[in-house]
Symmetry: C2
Subunit: 230 residues, 2 copies
């Protein structure tokens, strides 16, 4: 197959062309060909390659984004629909080797199949050229897919907001105390009390301390009439 264009589009020239061929071989084709290698193992690897490259770039691009926001941005970028769109923009579907049954059933245009092939291709780039090559390829491909930092949704970090408000109004911070836990080990709940410098106290209850704190802070913000952007 002539893949010069494809290699150009992904910014990687394969040394081991067999890796690229395997990445483009759907199991339905491999099965027809008496068990030639298919792309499923490469997909397993490529999924992790993509995850790390996107995580690292997100980490660097958004130095102030909390972990939850980074996770959401990453999910958007690597979800099946997004990867399938990328695969189409790379003309990957023209290069995928499919079994006859899968072909007849329109497999060449199935999101899942396209996304898998793209992941497999990134796994192949990683094996062929190492992490640096995979990163280069992925950053190129995702170059214009990142959200603008200014466009990121405001995160609901109630605790930080309550701290700001308390500093501003009372020149002091709220204090969080784990007031107790209850329930059996596997469904433990945590009770956290947020006490404002005024003495007003708000209790958050949740299955994690972090969420209980957030909840306590949210209650505090509400009592202070700070809009919580719900």
């Amino acid at each position: 197959m002539d893949t010069g264009d494809l290699q150009q589009r992904i910014h990687h020239r394969f040394g081991q062309v067999k890796l690229m061929e395997a990445a483009l071989t759907h199991s339905s084709h491999a099965n027809e060909q008496e068990g030639d290698g298919d792309n499923e193992r490469l997909e397993f690897l490529g999924d992790a390659v993509l995850e790390l490259c996107i995580s690292e770039e997100g980490y660097r691009r958004f130095p102030h984004a909390p972990e939850g926001q980074l996770t959401r941005i990453r999910s958007q970028l690597v979800k099946e629909k997004s990867l399938a769109a990328i695969a189409r923009s790379l003309d990957l579907h023209r290069h995928i080797l499919l079994g006859k049954g899968e072909e007849l059933q329109g497999g060449r245009d199935r999101d899942a199949l396209l996304a898998d092939a793209f992941e497999a291709l990134m796994g192949a780039v990683f094996l062929d050229g190492g992490f640096a090559a995979a990163r280069k390829s992925i950053l190129h491909i995702f170059g214009d897919k990142w959200p603008e930092a200014e466009m990121l949704p405001e995160t609901k970090d109630y605790k930080s907001r309550l701290q700001e408000v308390a500093q501003e109004r009372f020149r002091d911070r709220p204090v969080y105390v784990l007031a107790g836990t209850s329930g059996p080990e596997h469904e433990k709940v945590f009770m956290v009390d947020a006490t404002l410098p005024t003495g007003a106290c708000f209790r958050g209850v949740s299955s994690s301390v972090k969420r209980a704190e957030q909840e306590a802070a949210r209650l505090g913000l509400r009592a202070l009439n700070v809009p919580d952007d719900e």
Copy 2:
């Protein structure tokens, strides 16, 4: 904090000690200290670093393991309980900076907290020394945690087994045909017919073509009295 021992145990000497310190700072401590950096963003990154390093090593160690098996091996290695055990064996808990509330509640010995700190530490190694440094550290730490190739559970790849059996008994392969689909788009089911060289036909039905094929193959194996290792 004196972390010479720790750095030795993870086979990485930090150039940017601040990264290591951030990795060992739980949010409960950072919150007490007026929002110093905590380890949550590093944990986000480290999770992906770990995932890729373990995926790559699994891919190399088990060249014949199908994707599903690689996924299971990886899950075992990186699940919270496993990472917490590793954190303990590294004496990580002695180095973690905790808030007072979390400390009083025994947070220093919580699996989730320990696993997160270990992930964050691997994220810090990655930022400090690059992918090669993270891989070296992770492969060292997981050195003796891998299953032996011989100990891997036999995978239930009915299709491959049916092909072997058919070749052996009938000198020909079974043929798989997608016989049809039904149901609305979001809960579509696929019907796959596996036809043996003898003409006997077995229908698998599933929400994915792959699983329908496996199911059809399983029925074929059963009809041929091949034990399916259930």
